[in-house]
């Protein structure tokens, strides 16, 4: 086994050397010579960000629970460390055994956001692994990618050997088992890829060919649409089906997560309480790709949380899901947990604001009033109907009224600018809501309310995502984004209201990549070659380099972002089946344009297709229920 030596002066010269040494509590140490399958799991961002990610902890723990597998971690080195590694020709190494990443059997990336893609190319390069899949040999690891952003694999297709679509709990054990047999028989890498195609969630880009039309697409200037997307070998499936974990109460859960030695972004225990979301927000990708809704039972959550706390020593726990309010046993869970662990702080993301939750929040924060948050997303009821966000102005004002009379003094509001059909009136609605809230505070009883109030309005830019109802929708240009932002900013003149916004061009790039095809891979490669990395970090984001790359690669924003895509055009991600039908998404998009909301699937089924697809979850139970009656 080779080991990488990192001289002390390197670690002493970089910021936070603890990022590069491993050695944490619960890190797994095995003998690499006795584990036939070696995996490097890479979260392509800096250590503190990656270590906060539940998916990493889950797969790391699960892989290492298998006797034949040794999974180690690697992160994107911060630019100061990259400089040192390159200057001294030190290859990127795993944190546990300091082995070169290149010596692994697999290198698995999780794709969480588009703007981490240049980091992936950088990690490959620093590891001495050819960037393009076609250039790799039997000496290189097999490069895997998964995670929510892998729902459109195409922009990363030339760099990845295979994509795993859906939830990792299901198939990896079988993949590794087959790999071990394959390795013992002495087979080649390409042959191995063919041996896992029958599993279902595996997409091997090299086994498919894309052809383009010979004329520009509808609404585009010069870029042709996809004419055909076909397997180039008989055993490659035409459709890739996402994997779903049937029972989250019995599937693997990381009760022994690695506790980072450095303070991470979310420095606390993480307990997922359910997966999926009953709401059908039309801009939301996660809501669709994580379907169906599957709950972990209250007992499972309590027992598991207790184990995590015992194994880590955390004094804070986060109960996570896409919409915490919809957990059926939330009240009992909180009460029982709080009784058992009175000194453990609980953080609950995305909670509806009502008397119950306010009481809860105060109890959890031990009397501290931490501020309340609303994800209103749009400023008018009309636009909220368009996006199917089931929150009303009255909900928000009622929540604020309650909070203010309880002494709360901070309100945070989140919105998106550039949503389909948005007009100035909708943007005006954002500012108006801010003023209304200040007004509610003013009208609150003087004895009860706080001395001052602070309302924070934050906007991000809407970026259409694959597998959301808005996957065909046009995206607003960065100039238009900026105009909307300026307009809104001009409307907010009250010193009690603060306005925060995001960079607009970054959203344009995110849009191109999110709905990109294989041609966008050139853009990612070119931008990386020019020095782009850590694009999600404003200190390192280089708009100028991205613009140059866009020009060199002839990427047409009109084609990828600005036009509305016709329904009969082949979308780059059409070969992936997430269980939600294209027909249903289309219907949702049409209803959006008419401003018609759709009831959430906790109340009634709107026929998205998941019921026929899933073997588990809310849909499955409903199907079984109707079969019996």
């Amino acid at each position: 086994m080779r080991r990488v030596t990192v001289p002390d002066p390197v670690l002493l010269s970089v910021d936070k050397p603890a990022r590069y040494i491993g050695e944490e509590l619960n890190a797994v140490y095995k003998d690499p010579d006795k584990t036939p399958v070696r995996v490097a799991f890479c979260y392509p961002d800096v250590y503190e960000v990656g270590m906060s990610h539940l998916g990493l902890q889950l797969l790391y723990g699960m892989f290492n629970s298998m006797d034949d597998v040794y999974c180690e971690r690697v992160f994107a080195p911060w630019p100061d460390m990259e400089e040192q590694l390159r200057a001294r020709q030190i290859p990127l190494y795993t944190l546990e055994t300091f082995s070169p990443v290149k010596d692994m059997d697999f290198l698995a990336f999780t794709l969480q956001y588009e703007m981490s893609f240049t980091n992936i190319l950088n990690v490959l390069d620093l590891s001495g692994i050819p960037i393009y899949s076609k250039d790799r040999t039997d000496d290189d690891p097999l490069v895997i990618a998964g995670g929510p952003t892998a729902s459109n694999p195409e922009p990363m297709a030339p760099f990845i050997d295979f994509f795993y679509i859906g939830e990792g709990e299901v198939c990896y054990e079988e993949i590794f088992r087959r790999y071990k047999a394959h390795k013992e028989a002495g087979g080649h890498r390409r042959d191995f890829l063919a041996k896992i195609l029958d599993l279902g969630p595996i997409y091997v880009p090299a086994f498919y060919d894309v052809e383009y039309e010979d004329h520009p697409a509808v609404g585009a200037e010069y870029t042709p649409a996809i004419r055909s997307f076909k397997p180039n070998r008989p055993d490659a499936p035409i459709e890739i089906r996402k994997d779903i974990t049937d029972d989250l109460n019995t599937s693997f859960y990381p009760v022994r997560p690695v506790v980072p030695n450095l303070q991470s972004v979310f420095d606390r225990a993480v307990m997922e309480i359910f997966r999926g979301c009953v709401h059908g927000c039309r801009f939301c990708q996660a809501g669709q790709v994580y379907k169906p809704v599957r709950y972990r039972t209250k007992d499972m959550v309590l027992k598991t949380s207790e184990e995590i706390l015992k194994n880590t020593g955390y004094d804070e726990i986060s109960f996570t899901s896409l919409s915490t309010d919809d957990y059926p046993w939330l009240g009992e869970l909180m009460t029982e947990f709080h009784q058992k662990h009175p000194h453990v702080a609980i953080s609950l993301p995305s909670l509806r604001v009502d008397a119950f939750s306010l009481d809860l929040m105060e109890k959890l924060a031990e009397g501290k009033k931490t501020g309340i948050t609303f994800a209103a997303e749009a400023g008018s009821q009309r636009l909220r109907d368009v996006i199917n966000k089931g929150i009303t102005e009255e909900d928000i004002l009622r929540g604020c009224r309650l909070a203010f009379s309880g002494g709360w003094d901070r309100v945070k509001l989140y919105f998106m600018l550039g949503l389909p059909t948005e007009t100035d009136e909708d943007i005006f609605g954002i500012a108006h809501l801010g003023y209304e809230i200040v007004d509610v505070w003013r009208k609150t009883d003087l004895d009860k309310r706080s001395r001052d109030v602070s309302v924070t309005v934050s906007t991000s830019f809407f970026v259409p995502k694959p597998f959301s109802a808005f996957q065909w929708a046009p995206q607003v240009s960065s100039e238009q984004y900026t105009a909307k932002q300026t307009y809104l900013s001009g409307l907010i003149t009250n010193r009690k209201i603060r306005y925060n916004w995001h960079d607009s061009y970054l959203s344009t790039l995110e849009g191109v990549i999110a709905r990109g095809d294989r041609r966008v891979a050139d853009l990612i490669y070119t931008a990386w070659k020019k020095g782009c990395r850590f694009d999600a970090w404003s200190d390192y984001y280089r708009e100028d380099l991205w613009k140059k790359a866009l020009e060199e690669c002839h990427i047409e924003l009109q084609y990828y972002n600005y036009r509305e895509r016709p329904y009969d055009e082949i979308l780059p991600w059409d070969m992936i089946n997430y269980g939600v039908t294209k027909r249903w998404l289309q219907r949702e998009y049409e209803r959006a344009k008419q401003g018609l909301p759709t009831i959430d699937c906790g109340k009634a089924c709107s026929g998205c297709g998941m019921m026929a697809f899933a073997r588990a979850g809310l849909c499955f139970e409903e199907r079984r229920g109707s079969d019996e009656s």
Binding site: P7, D8, P9, L11, L12, S13, K16, P17, A18, Y20, I21, G22, E23, E24, L25, A27, V259, N261, L262, Q263, L309, K310, N311, T312, G313, Y314, D315
Partner: protein, 238 residues
């Protein structure tokens, strides 16, 4: 109400790659390990309570030690063997508690009594035959000056500091090992890595800076008669 307050002194080691974990991060690791084991720390009063935990003298990033000392206050008593065992099961393998002692009533915290520290400096093989010569040249210097960030003329800025008076002894004990005894008071605490930077510059090899491995081997408290007493042996005698 006067809750029980048990003062313990712990000796711990920080070795291997753990030497790259900074002091503040290490404090959090200790705190978490203690809380994981359900051992209750006493917290300071006030608006922003923090656990009563203090260290004899923080170890610089990159240095190893088997003689680190930490004082903690617990809200209930626990047998020392038990404390060691439980903390170690909750600590990373290269940050481990070696010994625990009950603090006698009224004993001063370690950070208030440490006056001297001893280090072994392991040198790279590269210049093996020249170290005696280098050391002589280094010690001949009338002043050994380092730059230090300090408050001067009302603002923080880099100031020159002569550290020669802080070196009590520096000798080559083996062909590749130097032993350093130096001041380590709250006011005057010599950082051996800073000294080594000047060492390498003096012998014309600034590129070697950081290649030496520094190990702290002793923390001492100077008695009124001038004698240096090892902090750990004081505890053993109690």
């Amino acid at each position: 109400m006067n809750p029980e307050r048990i003062k313990k002194r712990l000796v711990f080691e920080k070795t291997h790659r753990m030497r790259f974990v900074g002091h503040l991060d290490m404090m959090r690791i200790f705190q978490r390990a203690i809380s994981r084991e359900g051992i209750e720390l006493v917290f300071s009063q006030g608006f922003n309570p923090h656990p009563r935990m203090s260290f004899a003298r923080p170890l610089s990033l990159g240095q190893t030690s088997h003689v680190e000392i930490m004082d903690i206050e617990l809200a209930g008593d626990i047998a020392n063997d038990e404390l060691i065992k439980r903390m170690n099961s909750a600590l990373p393998v290269h940050l481990q508690v070696l010994a625990a002692y009950d603090m006698p009533e009224g004993a001063k915290p370690a950070m208030a009594i440490v006056t001297h520290a001893e280090y072994l400096i392991h040198l790279p093989e590269r210049h093996q035959d020249e170290y005696a010569d280098y050391l002589a040249r280094f010690l001949e210097k009338p002043e050994i000056t380092i730059q230090k960030l300090a408050k001067s003329k009302g603002r923080k800025q880099m100031v020159d500091l002569d550290i020669k008076p802080m070196i009590c002894s520096l000798e080559l004990t083996e062909p590749l090992t130097m032993r350093l005894l130096c001041l380590a008071t709250e006011k005057e605490n010599l950082k051996p890595d800073r000294m080594m930077k000047v060492f390498w510059e003096t012998c014309g090899h600034p590129e070697q800076t950081g290649y030496e491995l520094i190990e702290r081997t002793g923390l001492y408290c100077q008695q009124e008669d001038g004698r240096l007493v090892d902090l750990i042996s004081i505890m053993k005698d109690h």
